[in-house]
Symmetry: none
Subunit: 219 residues, 4 copies
DNA sequence: AATGAATGAGAATTCATTCAT
DNA sequence: TATGAATGAATTCTCATTCAT
């Protein structure tokens, strides 16, 4: 399909695929994967039903391609974090800003993709391997490096990284569920979230807890 | 149907409904709402297809009933937080513990319900009104009370409450996406999450930030 | 079923059958045979679904029983015509009056029964044999007798008898199709129809046609 | 679908619709609307089940389309009666000939359509408005005109028109009920029926009734 | 390559009938 | 006998996919 060596052909093909994926993303987000029909997608894309099958082998492949596209933008945005020799506070702040500005403009893509990923083992595996694990590894590597340099307290790296990532993700899901507060104020999220995650809720008014005390709390 | 005044009948009916809902939850979680067929559910429940329609008007009504059941357990578990005159640290700790021990045993219920809720406007409205908004209101009320008593720094209540709730929710979604770390270590989550949210990432090794400094950060 | 020799039993059984048939007639007339469910009939009859099967072997048997009941009233009303040594004009008048006062009060029974009879070969056969043919035979016999006595012109007995019977039947069907004129004025029908059939449309203003003339017309 | 402006396409579409309607008419007539399945119709039409839904939105729409087709041929055949300045005898004769030659070749269409029309309020309304009322109006208008010109005795126009139309209709229904005499001799019907309706049963052998006499009869 | 009609497998739902209580 | 829950065959309709044009 994309094997044609003619570069103009390839451009045309890429454009057509994009056209279909854009339409599919919109329709999946509106109706969900199953209620969306190939006819719906074709209509929004302005082409005939059959044409979709020239570019994608099946409806599921369309969803997969959307997932891949999402994956690519994720990767692209993570690259710059890789270098990460920054100061911890700056790193966290930047990480959260990144995630949010990656995730929010694609909120509808997530709505299109997430429900099916949650429920389809094959897609889930794909997403885990290609998106989740790499994302967490970057975070874990950085946290471990920080800890070794004594710049981070002795926290559970695996779970903490997931908690940080999860807080962004959870806010996204809450918005997708229809929360209007987040929908209207998401530009303020990076600031609020960064402060929360760096300094915690009690930051100002409580004295920092003693080691023993915290252990007691946490047991 | 449930109008029968015969208490034994009612018991039988309730049991049958539970049997169907349990089966449906399992099947929805495995295959998703749409790929799950009435036949699948009936087979798992050990009854005939048609019997389901004696107890529920449609496949969607089955999903709705699962959502209501989830709602009820949520409400029940939130009741005791209502009184909330506890110490702040205890409250947060308890809140997170609550949420996690409510959500995790029901992880598969969420997997069954969440994808469809994300994508079905009617269900979404229902979930928002009956679960999300009440949950956030409890948190907001408590946070405001604390802040008025000077026990909490001047944070953005609306967004912070959502961030706290979101962190639990996000971790759930990450698990549902197949993350094995969370799946195997979720019992440690309350502790890690409480510490993170109360004390922040930098708690120990950094000195608490000065007011001015934090303001600068947070901008 | 009706084999019980206990006369009280038989009364009870007959009453229950009537109760079911009345309900079924009403429901069939409202919804048609197929859209009417056993549940509908049971509800109208004020009994449980299953009970119907104590008195009738199947839904079709219920329809059949309605047909039989209709048949019986037809027969009963025809008996007195059998003797028929009356004057021709009185006979026709009486015949039409009969038919109309038999058919109209049972209009809804016809609506219940006719559609299915039109389309179900078995019922059709039954109706033809038990109702139609006997009815026509009475008429044919009378007409032939009249003709032999020179009291009737040399008309086509078979077709004319059917035309007379058909005119009543056709008016019924037109009413069942929703014609409001007939519905509201059916009590005037016997008079109008008798005059029409006895004297024809031109009765007054034209001179009776000559034999030859009529033949020319009719050819 | 039928919006296509390509005239060849439209021809193809019209042919396919006809193919389906013909098959449906046959199957509905054989089994009745409800016992006839989409599969039956598709098999007779020689196409796949699903194809029917490319041309008709539902099984009921197929029936409706049959009704419309019947309606169109009715209208077409009535047009030439509209002009109606003919002699009364010729008019009646022509009217009956018309009706019979319209109705008989379509007997099976009536069998397909009538049962459902009798029982389905929506279809009934449609049939009444589009077929019955216009048909009666033509007749009533003509009869009134004749009466004003003194060519017709002072009969009840509304009921008489219905009685004339009903006699044709009733004969059709009697045939549909399985009467073999009418089935085999329907070509003789126009003649017999015209004579009956114009001259009445007693035409030859009785003297025309005196006014007073007829009044006495009729009431 | 693009089209869109045709296909037919598959799903939700209905409902006559059965049968344990 | 009466009940009404349970059954599962049968039906309508949808829609991903194919393929002739």
């Amino acid at each position: 399909m994309a094997d044609s060596r003619d570069p103009i052909q390839e451009l045309v093909i890429a454009a057509r695929r994009k056209q279909i994926l854009d339409a599919a993303t919109q329709v999946f987000a509106e109706k969900g994967f199953h209620r969306a029909t190939i006819k719906d997608i074709a209509r929004v894309a302005g082409i005939a039903d059959g044409t979709i099958y020239t570019y994608f082998a099946s409806k599921t492949e369309v969803l997969l391609a959307i997932l891949h596209r999402l994956n690519e933008s994720t990767e692209r945005s993570q690259q710059f974090l890789q270098g990460g020799e920054q100061d911890f506070r700056v790193f966290v702040q930047e990480y959260i800003r990144q995630r949010i500005s990656l995730v929010w403009p694609n909120a509808e893509v997530f709505r299109a993709v997430l429900p099916e990923v949650l429920v389809n083992a094959e897609l889930r595996e794909l997403y885990t391997q290609q998106v989740l694990i790499p994302t967490f590894e970057i975070g874990e590597r950085y946290f471990r490096a920080q800890r070794e340099q004594g710049k981070l307290r002795d926290l559970d790296v695996q779970l903490t990284v997931r908690a940080v990532a999860g807080s962004v993700f959870g806010l996204l899901v809450i918005q997708l569920l229809g929360d209007e507060v987040i929908a209207s104020r998401w530009e303020e999220l990076p600031e609020v979230l960064t402060t929360l995650l760096l300094d915690g809720l009690r930051a100002v008014h409580e004295a920092p807890v003693e080691e023993g005390e915290r252990d007691a709390d946490a047991h």
